[in-house]
């Protein structure tokens, strides 16, 4: 009917693909500039991330992190909020996981520890999101500012805790003791030896992440709370009219968002590192923003975008190994380009496509 409407397949399919193509085109130019063959680079990137079992394993391992942080950003998006604090919330989530694992690992098997670790990570992540949420809801301090500040506070707090409280006796490393078997999630390679994941750290938390996707989908589109979150995000005035409390919605949404970000630590700490250590979040929280944008804040989109970014991480590492001219920094440039086109320039092609569909297909382009 009105201008600005696009068929769903264009909105959810064509636009992300175009954005991605544009990102790779520019990346290809960069590769040419440094004197390498971009076609070969793409081949290595694809082979490195999807070509063999261990590569796939690493891709999925990174993707697990991105699913959690992407979901965190997406839930906040639905309420019209921009949670930039995934980094800090995930970091604090590690504390929750480590507390559960350190307390239980010597006495019970991993599957008893897991629910407590999930709970711990979510609670710590949520707690870290609570103060910015409260400040936003009650005092109008913008969450973009407060959550980003809380990332720095989280970093300092964790350094302090790991150096002064949690460090194992007699060690120089800023890390806890290594968990026993009761604090370690099984690697998928041990469960499904046939896939040949070999030494890739992909572990059971991949399924926790996929379960979280289903739960987030149910929450957003099938519950009263989700209805309230979406109403508030789309039209705060109408939400107030409908008796939805802005204060409650802001705080509850941020708690869920922070909890999801915190759960990333399950994968890193309980699934792979088996100890709590400094700086393990390593930017996964920020990449979650790009994942949520590219995945259109929908769990299915987020899984796909998370796998894409997993491929970039894993294939990129392979690429810098195979093509020494393409350094680790170049990989960051390519990742940055994907984030730029998929995230910041998300709507670049949209006006042109709207014109194209408005003039080209006419009435048939209108959704019924």
């Amino acid at each position: 009917m009105s201008a600005g409407q696009l068929p769903r397949w264009v909105d959810y399919g064509l636009i992300p693909v175009l954005n991605l193509a544009a990102a790779f085109l520019v990346s290809g130019l960069v590769v040419i500039l440094i004197g390498e063959n971009p076609i070969d680079a793409v081949k290595i990137l694809l082979w490195g991330s999807l070509g063999y079992g261990e590569g796939v394993g690493f891709t999925l391992f990174f993707a697990t992190n991105f699913i959690f942080t992407g979901l965190a950003v997406a839930v906040a998006f639905h309420a019209g909020m921009f949670n930039i604090g995934g980094e800090g919330q995930a970091y604090l989530g590690g504390l929750g996981v480590a507390m559960a694992c350190l307390a239980m690992d010597q006495y019970v098997p991993w599957w008893v520890t897991l629910p407590f670790a999930v709970l711990g990570s979510a609670l710590m992540g949520a707690a870290w999101a609570f103060i910015p949420a409260w400040l936003q809801a009650r005092r109008g301090s913008h969450v973009v500012i407060t959550t980003i500040m809380f990332n720095f506070i989280a970093a300092s707090l964790m350094v302090y805790l790991l150096n002064n409280v949690l460090k194992k006796a007699g060690s120089m490393q800023s890390e806890t003791r290594t968990f026993e078997d009761g604090g370690r999630l099984p690697f998928l390679n041990d469960i499904f030896p046939g896939f040949g994941f070999d030494y890739a750290p992909v572990n059971l938390s991949l399924f926790v992440a996929l379960l979280a996707c289903v739960l987030v989908w149910l929450l957003i589109w099938r519950t009263k709370l989700g209805f309230e979150i979406r109403s508030f995000g789309a039209n705060p005035t109408a939400a107030v009219y409908a008796g939805i409390s802005p204060v409650r919605t802001i705080i509850v949404t941020m708690l869920i968002s922070g909890g999801l970000a915190g759960m990333m630590a399950i994968n890193e700490i309980m699934g792979s590192q088996h100890r709590l250590l400094i700086d393990y979040v390593a930017g996964y929280g920020f990449v979650g923003i790009a994942v949520a944008l590219m995945g259109r804040s929908h769990p299915v989109g987020i899984v796909l975008a998370a796998i894409l970014f997993g491929m970039l991480y894993q294939g990129g590492a392979e690429l810098s190994f195979e093509m020494p001219a393409i350094t680790r920094d170049m990989i960051v440039v390519i990742q940055g380009l994907v984030i730029l086109f998929a995230g910041a320039l998300e709507y670049m092609f949209r006006p042109a496509l709207i014109r194209l569909f408005a003039s080209g297909t006419g009435p048939s382009a209108q959704a019924a």
């Binding site: 789309a234 039209n235 109408a238 939400a239 009219y241 409908a242 008796g243 939805i244």
Partner: protein, 521 residues
């Protein structure tokens, strides 16, 4: 600021300062300005009056370069001009004082005046020169303001003075003031009129946009009346009267035909006592209002928009906080200041609310139709199955409403933004009426709605009344109030200034709406 114009106002032979010829402007399907002609004499105060939405602000925005007209000519000092932006307007000597001030709160008066006219990269030199120029303007036009005061420390009246100085500083010969008294106290308004008089005597031309008749009579030389996008009349102020202007503003369209029996009001269902509301600017917008609504009647609140009706409705619905007052509903006395109920709790008291602005408040236009059909009622148990919403049932119930209210296209999955205005309004109405409320608040039920839907909506409202419910109707369309309401309360300046029956004389109602109580015969 260049040549002081020596012609002292009343000379009729001078060229018009502004001439508009056949100005047209549409926003999508809304024709905001239709073939507007206007002559503004140099050195005069020319009033433009009309209700909100009559097209006054659009017309002024065209003159000031915010919008470009679809067609028509603008002549300034006899020369045809095009005004693509406000910079051009300023260079043509047109200055504008906006309804909402365009000032930087934490800058000083002087800094605000020079903002955008700093004259060079170095600020200090420009500021020095500007200060002496500002001083000269203040003396010449008796517009005293301390140049070093911060805007945020000044009362609203003085802030407005800064806006006027800003325009004069840029060499404005023609000043447009958009609803200048909206935020002023009566004494501040009187002072503003004195200033305008001085400006006129100094040869400036003033265009005053307002919907207040009293201001027009007090200060203007000529007045033009706009109604629904058209310029319906221009009069010399000395040769017209408030009642003529009120009639011209409201118009005399054919009474809408609503088929209804006389009301049979029963027990009271809603009572409002001593309600006062202060808005976010600190202005008291509802002043000590008391009334009641009985079962089986429609109480209409008439008034020119912006006289507190919107705030009244929102406060009763629980959306806005009251300054004082109590509400009696559903057997409970609610203290609106100490223990107000929120909109959800008001719904539990069986209060339905069709808000004035369906886009801003009544609907989430991004949602599918069926989602909007439960907005505000989404916590009702019937929509849930365990912890989840029962989507199938919600869609099914939405389809029933679609059928019953003839909502087109009949698709509960369609995004609400893609329905026409009339059908969107039907979605809201269906949602609120089908919950069978004891009291229904209805604001502007047919604003931006096509004729067919208007009739349908009116019919539904009367049906609800006949089913023994109490209805409080707010509308700026006097015709609508007169054809629907069983009792009419007239609101002016936050107060209820009179109660009339629907067969009251239109002119009398018009005068009440314009706040000239005493003169009504």
């Amino acid at each position: 600021m260049n040549k002081p114009n020596m012609s002292q106002g009343l000379d009729t032979s001078t060229q018009p300062a502004i001439e508009l010829r056949k100005i047209n402007k549409s926003f999508g399907p809304v024709h905001a300005n239709k073939d507007i002609d206007l002559l503004v004499k140099k050195g005069s105060i020319h009033g433009i009056i009309g209700e909100n939405g009559a097209g006054k602000s659009t017309l002024m925005s065209i003159l000031y370069g915010f919008y470009t007209a679809d067609d028509g000519d603008i002549l300034v000092d006899g020369k045809t001009v095009t005004i693509p932006d406000s910079k051009t307007a300023i260079s043509l000597g047109i200055g504008m004082v906006h309804q909402h001030f365009m000032l930087v709160d934490n800058f000083s008066v002087l800094e605000n005046v020079v903002l955008g006219a700093e004259g060079g990269a170095s600020l200090s030199g420009g500021l020095g020169r500007a200060k002496s120029e500002l001083q000269r303007l203040e003396d010449e036009y008796e517009l005293k303001v301390d140049p070093d005061a911060l805007i945020e420390d000044l009362p609203v009246g003085l802030q407005q003075r800064v806006e006027i100085l800003k325009a004069l500083f840029r060499g404005a010969e023609i000043l447009i003031l958009d609803e200048p008294t909206g935020v002023l106290t009566p004494s501040e308004a009187d002072h503003l009129f004195k200033i305008l008089d001085v400006l006129k005597n100094q040869g400036k031309t003033i265009l005053l946009i307002t919907h207040k008749l009293r201001e027009i009579m007090a200060i203007t030389d000529t007045v033009s009346v706009m109604r629904r996008g058209e310029m319906v009349a221009t009069r010399k102020t000395s040769e017209t009267s408030m009642s003529e202007l009120a009639e011209l503003m409201v118009g005399r369209s054919v009474l809408l035909n609503v088929d209804k029996k006389p009301a049979e009001p029963k027990e009271r269902v809603l009572e409002v006592n001593n309600l006062s509301v202060v808005d976010s600017r600190g202005v008291k917008v509802v002043k000590d209002v008391s009334f009641n609504v009985r079962a089986g009647e429609i109480v209409g609140i008439a008034g020119v928009s912006g006289n507190g009706q919107s705030e009244l409705l929102e406060t009763i619905a629980g959306i806005r906080r009251a300054d004082q007052g109590t509400l009696w509903i559903d057997g409970d006395e609610i203290d609106l200041r100490a223990k107000p109920l929120d909109p959800a709790e008001m719904r539990e008291k069986s209060l339905g609310h069709v808000p004035e602005d369906r886009h801003r408040m009544g609907l989430v236009t991004k949602f599918a139709e069926y989602e909007n059909s439960i907005l505000g009622y989404h916590t009702d148990a019937i929509y849930s199955k365990g912890p989840l919403l029962d989507i199938a049932k919600i869609k099914q119930l939405a389809e029933v409403e679609i059928e019953k209210y003839d909502i087109r296209p009949p698709s509960p999955l369609l995004k609400t933004a893609n329905f026409s205005g009339g059908n969107q309004q039907k979605i809201v109405l269906a949602r609120e009426i089908e919950r069978d409320p004891t009291v229904l608040l209805v604001g502007q039920p047919t604003r931006g709605v096509d004729i067919g839907a208007i009739e349908f909506i009116h019919k539904r409202i009367v049906e609800l009344r006949d089913a023994g419910k109490g209805i409080l109707l707010v509308s700026v369309e006097l015709d609508e109030i007169r054809s629907l309401a069983d009792r009419i309360l007239v609101m002016f300046d936050g107060k209820i200034v009179g109660e009339r029956t629907p067969d009251a004389d239109e002119g009398e109602l018009g005068l009440l709406m314009a706040g000239v109580e005493g003169e009504a015969k």
